[in-house]
Each structure stands twice: as C-alpha cells, then as structure tokens.
C-alpha cells in the first residue's frame, strides 16, 4: 500500500511539478546561452570600434590627419563588426540548437519512468537468458 502511494505520488510529481521544472530548466539554459555569448550587448554596440580603440579627430582641420584618423577608426569599426558578427552567429546557432532540443528533452522526460522500467527489465533479461548473439 505504502509502495503504491509513493509510486503514484512520484508520478504526480514527475508529470506535474517536475515537468514545469523541465521548462524552467530549458528557459534558464537558453537565457544563459544568450548572456554567455553577450548577444544583447554585442548587438547594441555592433558598430562601436573594437575595444573602443579609436583616435580623436584633430581640433584644427588637417586633411591628412583627418583622413588617417577616419581610416583607422573605420578599420577598428569593421574589425569590431566582423568579430561581433561571428560571435553573434555562433551564439544564435547554439540558442537555435537548444530550442530544437526542447521537444526531444520533453519526450525523454515524459518517457523516463518507462525507460527506467525497460532498462531494468531488459537488463535482467539479458543477464538471465542470453539467448541471442550481438
């Protein structure tokens, strides 16, 4: 009787509270990936020079200095944009993979009690009656 009560109690948790926890686990990891790749930060500063390595424009107009400053700053911006683009792409790809992973994770979770039963029973079966060859 006690065994039955605990078994049904467990099933109630597995398909109730724990199922919700799987969703929140998935959400937490997704937010973590988003933060880990600094996606929001990189998008917000997409055009900023690489590590803010930019020269100040001269106070007195000098076409030569002005041009070189512009050139250096533009290069630093382009370097920043390329590197940011790479990280953003990798980050978004990881997030996408993880989004796709959810249905699989759900199926595995839903079937887990059954999987345990199958593993134990088939394990015992192989152990006791090894009737076919691998």
């Amino acid at each position: 009787m006690k065994l039955l009560v605990t078994f049904f109690g467990y099933l109630g948790w597995h398909y109730g509270k724990a199922l919700m926890a799987v969703f929140s686990f998935w959400k937490n990891i997704l937010i973590f990936l988003f933060n880990f790749f600094s996606i929001k930060n990189l998008l917000g500063n997409f055009f900023t020079p690489w590590k803010r390595l930019a020269d100040s424009y001269p106070k007195r107009f000098n076409i030569k200095v002005y041009f070189f400053t512009f050139l250096v700053n533009t290069i630093m911006r382009i370097v920043g944009m390329i590197l940011r683009f790479i990280i953003i792409t990798i980050g978004l790809a990881c997030c996408a993979i993880f989004v796709i992973f959810l249905p699989f994770a759900l199926v595995i979770w839903l079937a887990l009690p059954l999987i345990i039963a199958v593993l134990i029973i088939s394990g015992l079966y192989f152990l006791i009656i090894p009737n076919y060859k691998i």
């Binding site: 597995h14 973590f32 600094s38 917000g44 920043g80 999987i115 394990g123 192989f126 060859k133």
Partner: protein
C-alpha cells in the same frame, strides 16, 4: 489534529514516505555503486571488442562465448543504467521538497502546511509522539550532535519518556509549520525535555540556534547542487562581454578586477545582511551626475564585505540597471602612493586613470583606503579635490570610495567641495547573531579540511569572544580569524570535537585572560582561597580583601555583567595602609604577575590637556598614554592613584568606562576595558577616618558618612561613586598590623641575604624598632621600606664591605636606647 492526519493533508507526505523507503545514504550508495559498475563494464566490453581477434586472447574469446558473457555484461550495464537514473530521479524528487527557508527566504506555498524538515520529525513520530520523533529522526540526531549531546545520554532520556498517544500537532507562528515551531513547543510543554537540555547547560536559544545551523547546512548543500538556477548560471563569465568597452592599461597597473574574488562566491557572506548598504550604493550610483558613494566604516574587512556582496549581485544580475554588466575594479591607493612620489606624477597618473575609466565605459571604480590617497596628494601640495572634481561630477563615471570612519572625520568630512560629489554610506557593524551566521559556513569548511566537529555553542562563543576578548577591528573578521586559528590548534592537540570550553581554552592560551572556561582544580583552590592569598601580602584590611575576592570569584565563574570591567573599586583611606599593595597582590594572584598592574598617577592629569594626554590628540595625531597602555595590554589591574586629583573631564570619561566597559580614543576607535580591574585610590576622607578610629569606631560602619563628606566637598560626583562596584574604606593600621608588615619586610631582606650565604636573625625587639621608627600616623607603613633600606640593609652592607659578614655567618641586631647595632656570629 493528530500527527498522521496532519501529515497526510500535505503533498509532501508522499515525499516523506518515499524517503522512508529509500534513505539518502542508501540512494547515494546505489548511485555510486551503479556508476562504478557501468564504467568498469563498459571498459571491459571495449577491451574485449578490440582484442577478441588477437591470437593471445583466442582462449578468452572461447570462454566468453561459451558463457554468453557479452550478453550478460550488456544486461548488467543496462540494469545499472536503469538503477542509476532511478536513484538520480529519486534525489530530484526528494530535493524538490526543500523550502530553502534560510537560503532563499520563504519559498513555500501555504497549502503545503509544513516544511520538509518539520515533516521529517513528524513522520518519524507518527507512530509514537513528537518528542520521540525528534529523537528518532536523522535531522533531530544532527541537532543534538551540534549541541554536543552524546547518543548515550539521548538513549537514557529517550527510554525514560512515556509515549503520548494521538498527540496534537503544535500550532505554527507562520502559515507553515517549521522545525523551530516544533522545538519551541517541545521546550515549553515538556518540562523533562527542557530539564534534560538545561542539565547539559543548553538554553532554548541555543537549541533554536543549533536548528538554524543544521537547516543551513542541509539547505546550502541542496541549493548548491541546483547548478541550473539562473543565479548559478550567471556566475559563468560571458565571452566577448568587454569587446565593446575600452582598455585600461594604466589602471590595470594599480588595480584588480574583484568580480571573481573568492569572497564573492563565499557562502560566508551570503547571510551578512548588507541589503541596506547595497541599496544605498545602487541609488547613489544610479544618479545621472555625481554618481559616487563613500563607504565609511571601522578599519577591517566590513566595507569590502559590502562590496563583495554587491559584486555577487552584479554577477547574478540581481542588481539595478545602472550597475548591470559593470566591471568592479579595486584601485589600491597604496600602489599609487608608493609609485607617485611627486606632485606632477601623481596628478598626471590620477587624471589618466580617471580618463581611462570614463573611456572604458563599463567600470565601477572602487578606491580602497581613499583617505590614504587624499592625504598623500595634499601632502605633496596637490589640490586633489579640484583635480578629481570634474571627473566625479561627470555623468560617465561611477566611483565608490572606501574610508575608515576616523580618517573620514579627520580629513574629509569638513571638505564640502569633495563631499558634494559623494553620497556617504555608513557601514553598519554586524551584530552577534549575524556574525554567528557568517561563521556557520566557515566552520563547516574547517570541519571538512581538518576533520573536526564544532558544536553550536562553540560557534556562538566564537562570535561572542571575538568582540569581548579582542579589542579594535571588525568583530566578524576577528571571529573568522579566531575560527581559522582554533581549527589547526585543536587538530594539533588531538581535539576532534570543539565545544565552548575548547574555544575558551584557546583564547586563554592566546591572551592569558582567565576566560571562565574550564576551571582547573588548582585554580578552584586559588579562587576559593583568594582572601588568604591576598592577606599574605595585605595586612590589616580584611574587609577590603573580602570585597575584592568576591568580585573576582563572580568574574571567573561568569556571573558578572560581561559589558562592564571585571571589577571596579574605589579605595579610600590614609596613605600607607595597603591600597597599592592590594592592587599589586591582585595582579599577582589573579593575572599571574605584578607586571600586569598598570599604574596611572592621576595627579599628573589635572590640567586642561589631561584628556589629550590620556586618550590622544585628534589635532596632532599623538596617541594617548591610557589608550596606548590598554591597546598593549587588554587585561590586568589598572591602578588610578590619587584619583581625586584629576580634572572633571577625565572623571566623566571614567563614568563611561565603568558603566559600558569601553571608551573611544582620539581617532574614534573603541578601546575595550572589559577585561580590566580598575582600582582608584584616594586619600579623601582620611581625616574623618582617623577621627573615627580615634573615637573607637569602625570606619567601615560609617562608609556612607565618609562618602557623603567626599561628595559634599565636590571631590567626586555621586553618580561616579555609584559606578564603582564597591567603595572600600581602608582603616589606619594598628600596631599589631604594623608589626606583621615589619616582619614580612624583614623576612624579604633575610631571604635576599640567604642567597649570599648569610642569615639575619629577626627578633621581636628588631620588629618593634622598625615599627617605631619606620611608620607614622600620616604615612602609615609607607616609610617602613625606606627605613629598613637605610638602617638594616645599610648596616649589613657595611659588615660585608669590612669583611666581617662572610658566608655562613649570622647577623644579629641589638637595640639599646633606640640605637641599632649589628653583630656577626
């Protein structure tokens, strides 16, 4: 409602029932064993698969095939994988029932009726009663262990208790029944249980404290296991987070990033409630301009504790928008001070550092010991305030300056231009309860490293003793330091369980202060015979000796008020009657050496600068005689000679010292006087005492009268006299007392002569001669020592020089018509 019905009404019941079937230990073992089997078998299988066709292993292949070992191994692996997943799921299931009442406050729903910890006690007692459940449950046993109660004692008490059938469940103070509610119920309704604890010296407060610690221990373990919590995940450093911000090459030379400091992730700090200070910092740093804060506190780590807590919040993204994703950089003032020796270099470096911070755009600049940098700049002649003002008032910088309260008051508070840029935040010192919580995790860490065990009483004593026996600094720092010293000390001394007595024993060894821990039988004898021991040196003052002895016994047994000095006495009486000798005897008997008596001649502190001389000068920065004396020696006897001669300010200072057991020196630093015996002596009222003795009265019976006269003369205020534990009247010495004193002094001379091989014959006539010539009414026995030196010792010295007094000889003094002559035989 009875226990069973109450238990079944909550969803936690199923979890408790599951736990009773598969205990935590069993679950852990199951998971460990299955994991090992899986790994070993998978390796064995792989080994077989890759080597089966090798000639050397042909026979092995035949053997394996004949017994179908491959299939059986696969079966065993599958079986163990099933078991492993099962034990893992069971752990998740049981962990889901924790409420985290301490780690995450009040994470529960009302309809769950009780916390998991309370449920464990009730479940264990569902067939008996709550008291038996408490003793039977694992969590109950853990609590008793933390209280230092042995299983043998528990068994005897457990068996003596009758079971109460169908006991009602106690009512909770909250929506959910907690373990503490059960403990309070048991303590208040079961007199036997309360007596059982009281007999072991355990109070209800300690019982609740031990419960607190045990719950903390369980919850921390469970909480840390949940690595997928957003706060836990947020601790991982993001990549590319600083790509959009500037570099700080110069700043890096003088600073470090503290976001990954060990203290930030330390559990020890998680319970020091710094929310108020952090919220003030957030408000200050969220302003559009002048977004700066100055943290002011006692010297020590408390200010950094606030900063580390703030860093924890930044890391877990639990902080206001203005501080999110920011890098907390600690600028070490001393590094700049030592590197920049002239004004130009300093100004140049400081301006560059601030520019870098602004350019970087993601830095919170924390300046450690800001006053040091400020003082250095001012000393070099730099206008530091104007130098940093444009940066501090800009909208693109956030600065947190840390300053000791004494430095803040002395150097910066009056500088309005500077302080306009800062929001001042006072760091509140932690109370004992908060310090105990900080020690919880450090004690658990020490237990793990040194394989020792702390009782709750030991942890409580660590928190109490840190501020009680060690003056200056921050109590929480001192408590942790003490813990870190005690752990290896106990390991070295073979002490595996550390209780309150062990903590006190260690403190006694470290400080030489008698702590009231274990009183050895030798010391017990000493305390019980204090009067006799002191009376060997102090003659004719029985009342005074008795009063002092009683005060010391109160102190040593822990009955005294811990927030006052050990004892404070006002000795009134004529000169030369034993007041100073009593103080010396006390230092010798109680603190082990006469050197533990510190003497202040209060007649030297009569002028207006007396306070400055005693506690130091704020303006000149000179330390005071009294404060330095007590900083060096925190325990002993302080003799305040001629107390009535000092000025009123000093007398007012002693009003506070005698009442509260501490005072603040010139820099505002608190100085502890709680391990001191104060003895103030005064000749005030001497004439009245003489008059009473001459009239045949005992001055002790007229103490009130003498005090009234002193008060009426305006020498002491009545409130000051009342602050002393006791006012003791020393009566003039009688002739028999003086004879005893003369005998003691002559014996001392004789002892010194024995070292030279000589012997001094002390006759009654010699004693009478010394009394007659070496004492008088006005100075009591005070001139006696000088007289013995001049007459007796002088004569002996002459005989030695003449070559008459050689080793083995006896020196006899004879008196003829008050003339002294010495003979050698």
């Amino acid at each position: 409602m009875n226990i069973n019905d109450f238990l079944k009404k909550s969803s936690i019941y199923n979890v408790l029932a599951t736990e009773s079937l598969i205990s935590e230990d069993f679950r852990n073992k199951l998971s460990k064993i299955s994991k090992i089997i899986i790994v070993v078998l998978v390796f064995a299988l792989l080994f077989f698969y890759f080597t089966k066709n090798s000639i050397r292993f042909i026979r092995l292949k035949e053997f394996v095939d004949s017994y179908s070992l491959v299939q059986r191994t696969v079966g065993l692996i599958l079986y163990n994988v099933g078991i492993y997943i099962y034990s893992l799921l069971a752990s998740f299931y049981l962990s889901s029932a924790y409420y985290f009442e301490k780690v995450v406050k009040n994470k529960y729903s009302k309809n769950e009726l009780y916390t998991f910890s309370a449920g464990r006690i009730l479940y264990a007692g569902r067939k008996t009663d709550i008291l038996h459940g408490f003793f039977d449950s694992k969590i109950g046993k853990l609590i008793f262990l933390r209280l230092g109660i042995t299983s043998k004692d528990i068994k005897v008490f457990y068996n003596s208790q009758k079971i109460i059938p169908k006991e009602e469940v106690p009512k909770s103070e909250d929506a959910v029944l907690k373990l503490k509610d059960i403990a309070k119920y048991l303590y208040s309704t079961k007199p036997d249980f309360a007596r059982f604890l009281n007999n072991k010296g355990i109070t209800d407060k300690e019982l609740l404290g031990a419960i607190d610690w045990v719950i903390y221990e369980i919850e921390t373990k469970e909480y840390n296991a949940e690595w997928w919590r957003p706060e836990a995940l947020a601790k991982t450093k993001s990549i590319a987070e600083d790509w959009s911000f500037g570099q700080t090459f110069l700043l890096d030379k003088y600073s470090r990033n503290i976001i990954n400091d060990q203290e930030v992730d330390s559990q020890a700090l998680s319970f020091s409630n710094r929310d108020a200070e952090i919220s003030q910092i957030e408000n200050a740093l969220s302003k559009s301009t002048d977004a700066n804060a100055m943290l002011i506190g006692e010297p020590g780590q408390e200010k950094m504790q606030v900063i580390w807590n703030m860093c924890r919040n930044i890391k877990s993204k639990n902080i206001s928008a203005a501080l999110q994703n920011k890098k907390p950089i600690l600028l070490i003032s001393n590094s700049i001070v030592s590197a920049c020796k002239d004004k130009d270099t300093l100004e140049n470096q400081v301006a560059k550092i601030f520019n870098e911070v602004i350019k970087a755009g993601n830095i919170i600049l924390i300046i450690d010991n800001f006053a040091e940098l400020y003082k250095h700049a001012e000393n070099l002649g730099s206008d530091f305030t104007n130098l940093i003002d444009p940066f501090l008032s800009s909208s693109s910088i956030q600065v947190i300056a840390l300053a000791n309260s004494s430095d803040f008051h002395q150097y910066m508070e009056s500088n309005k231009a500077l302080m306009n840029n800062f929001e001042t935040i006072i760091v509140k010192p932690l109370n004992t309860e908060e310090i105990v919580q900080i020690i919880y995790s450090s004690a658990l860490e020490s237990e793990r490293i040194y394989k020792i065990f702390f009782t709750y009483q030991a942890v409580q004593e660590l928190a109490d003793s840190a501020s009680y026996y060690f003056s200056g600094g921050v109590s929480s720092d001192k408590a942790i330091d003490l813990l870190n010293e005690i752990a290896p000390w106990s390991k070295r001394n073979g002490k595996k369980i550390i209780g309150k007595d062990e903590v006190l024993e260690y403190i006694e060894q470290k400080t030489n202060i008698p702590t009231g821990g274990k009183i050895s039988s030798k010391e017990k004898d000493k305390l019980l015979n204090l009067e006799n021991l002191i009376s060997k040196r102090v003659i004719g003052q029985k009342d005074a000796v008795l009063a002092v002895s009683n005060a010391l016994r109160r102190s040593r047994t822990g009955v005294r008020n811990p927030n006052k000095p050990i004892g404070s006495f006002l000795f009134l009486g004529p000169t030369g009657v034993g007041k100073t000798e009593t103080a010396k005897a006390l230092a010798y008997v109680f603190f082990g050496s006469e050197e533990n008596m510190m003497r202040l001649d209060m007649s030297e502190y009569q002028t207006d600068d007396a306070m400055e001389k005693l506690i130091g000068s704020f303006a000149s920065g000179k330390p005071g005689v009294f404060s330095s004396m007590l900083r060096e020696k925190q325990y002993g006897v302080v003799l305040l000679d001629e107390f009535e001669k000092t000025n009123k300010d000093v007398l007012n200072l002693f009003l506070q010292i005698l009442d509260e057991g501490f005072f603040s020196d010139m820099s505002g630093e608190k100085i502890n006087t709680r391990n001191i015996i104060f003895i103030a002596t005064s000749n005030a009222g001497a004439e009245k005492i003489f008059a009473m003795v001459e009239a045949g009265k005992n001055p002790k019976d007229a103490t009130e009268e003498i005090i009234d006269e002193i008060v009426s003369k305006g020498l002491f205020k009545p409130e000051l006299i009342n602050r002393f534990d006791s006012t003791i009247i020393f009566k003039p010495l009688e002739n028999t007392d003086l004879q005893q004193i003369a005998k003691i002094m002559l014996t001392k001379v004789s002892d010194r002569m024995t070292e030279k091989g000589l012997k001094l014959e002390i006759s009654d006539a010699l004693i009478d001669y010394v009394v007659k010539n070496g004492s008088n009414k006005a100075f009591g026995a005070r001139p006696m020592n000088r007289f013995i030196q001049d007459s007796i010792e002088g004569n002996v010295a002459n005989l030695i020089l003449k070559g008459e007094a050689t080793s083995g000889k006896v020196i006899k003094f004879s008196i003829d018509k008050n003339n002294l002559s010495a003979k050698v035989s």
